[in-house]
């Protein structure tokens, strides 16, 4: 596809030219500023990518745009907040948290063993239950453990959502499923609002990662935080793990088969319901990880009813831009969106006669979405339909 390369390289050349113009002709910004903006874009883009993966996986298999996914992301962030800020817990609460997490552990082990009656799955659940009850009632949870537990619990939530809201509608018209997803989204938002009405929840676990960081580049200073290392790395790690799971395991193969043709896969002995549950489990776990990193990045969580909406819709746009149904597409779309939001506003800084593009940054996601839908509805990497997961 030479035209794709030509357009892509042409855009990159344009961006480089524009940077040169802003730095040397307008003298409005220095090069270090663009390095900073690039790092920031990568950081935000990684977060969008994590959320977008959940949209794309679910769409790939049951052709559902899971509008509740943004709210699953919100739940993940708030669970982690409760875990690290309220621990150590009194015994009854520690038991409840540990039971939910142990359930998540069993789900994860089940991916490997394939049955809940397997001794390793049951044993793992019991060990997790005992260990976590002790840990949660005795010590303060640090942010990393809070993130892992929140991922487990949110994964369970994803499976439960699928079980109660989507599985009864298998085979129903797709519009019914979509409406159910919207209802689920409202349900989660308003439940969150009942539990937690505060406007801004401070999300500042004691960690070195959020510290301010500055370093010299091209004779000037880049301002950022240590999260610039953490967030893209964590995202890369999770994406690699997911890719390995999908390409190298039996269940991953079953997922790819179900994405191609669920009925034929079922005829070949694939348990499609189990595959779908797995998809929700993994997607929700990624969303929870995204939520925790999101909280670390911005230092606070918005009120539950609104927190998941905008990131969710933008990540959905990212998934479509990358090519919905494709795993690399979601990552590319997410990172692209991060760049678009931060880097394009940096390319057009405010000058004396021009107000700058800062206030329009939220619209870029949707302008690009419209362009992609008009010019290339299958998304950037969506041409190979057989790769859908």
């Amino acid at each position: 596809m030479p035209w794709g390369w030509i357009i892509g390289l042409g855009l990159v050349a344009l961006v480089i030219f524009r940077i040169y113009y802003v730095v040397h002709v307008l003298k409005a910004r220095d090069l270090a500023f663009f390095v900073g903006a690039m790092l920031q874009s990568l950081q935000l883009g990684s977060l969008y990518a994590l959320i977008a993966l959940g949209y794309t996986m679910v769409y790939g298999i049951i052709r559902l745009i899971n509008f509740a996914h943004g709210d699953v992301f919100m739940v993940g962030a708030f669970l982690a907040y409760f875990l690290f800020s309220r621990s150590p817990y009194a015994l009854p609460w520690a038991l409840i948290w540990a039971a939910l997490s142990a359930w998540g552990v069993m789900f994860v082990l089940n991916l490997w063993r394939g049955s809940f009656r397997d001794p390793i799955v049951i044993g793992g659940g019991v060990v997790a239950m005992a260990g976590l009850t002790y840990a949660l009632s005795a010590t303060t949870v640090n942010w990393l453990l809070a993130m892992l537990l929140s991922m487990l619990i949110t994964g369970v939530l994803g499976v439960v959502i699928d079980r109660v809201a989507y599985r009864p509608l298998r085979g129903a018209p797709r519009i019914s499923l979509l409406i159910t997803a919207i209802a689920m989204s409202f349900f989660l938002e308003n439940t969150g609002l009942l539990v937690f009405t505060r406007n801004q929840t401070p999300f500042r676990p004691p960690t070195e990662w959020t510290q301010y960081l500055q370093f010299p580049v091209f004779g000037s200073t880049v301002y950022t935080t240590r999260l610039i290392f953490l967030i893209p790395l964590a995202t890369a790690l999770l994406v690699v793990a997911l890719t390995l799971f999908v390409t190298r395991t039996r269940l991953g193969k079953a997922m790819r088969a179900s994405a191609q043709d669920p009925e034929t896969a079922q005829m070949m002995g694939v348990n499609v319901d189990r595959v779908i549950a797995t998809t929700f489990l993994l997607g929700s776990m990624l969303a929870a990880a995204g939520g925790v990193l999101w909280g670390l990045n911005f230092g606070s969580l918005n009120q539950p009813a609104v927190m998941g909406i905008l990131p969710g819709i933008k990540a959905f746009a990212a998934a479509v831009i990358g090519g919905i149904g494709s795993l690399p597409g979601a990552v590319i779309g997410g990172v692209l969106l991060g760049f678009l939001e931060n880097f394009v506003t940096a390319l057009f800084p405010r000058t004396q006669h021009f107000a700058g593009l800062t206030e329009y940054k939220d619209t870029f996601a949707f302008i690009l979405l419209i362009l992609v839908l008009l010019l290339r509805p299958s998304g950037i990497v969506g041409e190979d339909l057989s790769e859908k997961v």
Binding site: F33, Q200, S300, N342, A346
Partner: protein
């Protein structure tokens, strides 16, 4: 015959007491949930404390009809319509300019008095003759903040963060900008909307401008996120806020970033002078007994109390709860000894003449904001400034 007269007399007395006991209804339109819930509840506590101090007027009890506008203009309009149906004498609230302006037109058309507690946008009281306020206006607040930034802090470049979709924040930022530029400073205006969490683009713009002072004209719902992000990104200049920052949500949610944060706000007992100081202190003591668990006693509490006090005083002066008579006595109110200073509505558009604005500073020791405190630095009177 005598027996009949006696019965008639008893009936008359009974009828009289029944009439006297019919409560006077006052509407309360506040942001009790949603983005401004904390300051909404501070205001409500102020109103309720004032009601406990003065629960009867003209020998009849005062009943508050409380309506939560959920911090939405639609909710505020719905509250206004509810009060029109309930035929209340007057409405106290709303707090913010956006919600006050939303309700004001409906109440003005229905001929119901409205006393906004803390709306500071000049446009609010210009909607009609039924609309009053207890606070000062933003042209004054923006001016004193700009003068302080320019003259005392010696700042020459100010980055102004404003919430674009709020009448108060938008207006105030404009007044600050005008005055700061008039004094000879440079400004950059950075916009955001309600519920923004990611301020990175605005911060990038601010960094390119290299400000000496940051002026924040928005509310704590966004400020509690913005200020820590600014600090985290290496902005170590003085931050200056306005009366919407007089909200415990700022230091408790924003944490250590709010240490040393300066803001202008509704003057309290520390900065009032003379008899007004005594009244404010007495009210504070009464308030602590009435609401022992309240975490905030701030400008919103005082404004809430005084909105109630002036309305009840106007009913007392009128000698009736007749709408027109109460409006007349309220418009002619002179030197009412309020807990936030003396209040005069005579000869104004509904904005009292002598208001005290104070400069506050947050002290937030430690990383989380649990142990925050607030000190008043000094006060300025609107009456003295206009002379």
């Amino acid at each position: 015959m005598f027996k009949k007269l006696f019965l008639a007399a008893i009936a008359l007395v009974l009828a009289g007491t029944a009439l006297a006991q019919a409560p006077i209804k006052i509407g309360v339109n506040l942001e009790l949930s949603g983005r401004f819930a904390t300051i909404g509840n501070s205001t409500l506590q102020g109103i309720q404390a004032a009601q406990q101090q003065m629960s009867e007027v003209l020998g009849r009890p005062v009943e508050l009809s409380i309506c939560d506008n959920q911090t939405t203009p639609e909710g505020s309009k719905a509250c206004a319509n509810r009060f029109i149906d309930e035929k209340v004498v007057g409405v106290l609230g709303a707090i913010s300019s956006t919600m006050s302006i939303a309700a004001a037109q409906n109440l003005q058309d229905a001929g119901i008095i409205m006393i906004s507690t803390s709306s500071t946008n000049p446009a609010t009281t210009q909607i009609g003759d039924h609309i009053f306020r207890v606070a000062y206006t933003d042209d004054f607040q923006g001016k004193v903040a700009a003068e302080y930034a320019f003259n005392t802090l010696k700042a020459r470049k100010a980055a102004i963060f404003r919430q674009q979709d709020d009448d108060y924040s938008f207006g105030l930022a404009g007044f600050f900008q005008d005055e700061f530029q008039k004094l000879g400073g440079q400004t950059i205006m950075l916009n955001f909307v309600a519920n923004t969490v990611d301020f990175s683009s605005q911060i990038n713009d601010a960094r390119g401008f290299k400000p000496d002072v940051v002026y924040y004209s928005g509310f704590c719902a966004e400020g509690a996120t913005l200020i820590p992000q600014l600090k985290q990104q290496g902005f170590n200049m003085q931050f200056l806020g306005a009366d919407a920052s007089d909200d415990s949500q700022c230091p408790t949610s924003g944490g250590a970033a709010f240490n040393g944060y300066l803001f202008t706000g509704f003057g309290g007992p520390e900065v009032l002078t003379g008899a007004a100081k005594q009244r404010a202190e007495d009210f504070h003591k009464f308030f602590n007994i009435a609401f022992p668990k309240a975490t905030d006693f701030n400008g919103f509490t005082l404004a809430g109390a005084d909105s109630y006090n002036v309305l009840v005083q106007a009913i007392k002066d009128a000698g009736t709860d007749n709408e027109a008579a109460v409006l007349k006595s309220l418009s002619n109110l002179k030197d009412y000894p309020g807990v936030s200073g003396s209040i005069t509505f005579a000869g104004t558009d509904g904005t009292p003449k002598d208001r005290t604005i104070a400069f506050f500073e947050y002290l937030v020791p430690g990383q989380n904001g649990a142990a925050w405190s607030k000190i008043s630095k000094f006060g300025l009177s609107t009456a003295a400034a206009s002379q």
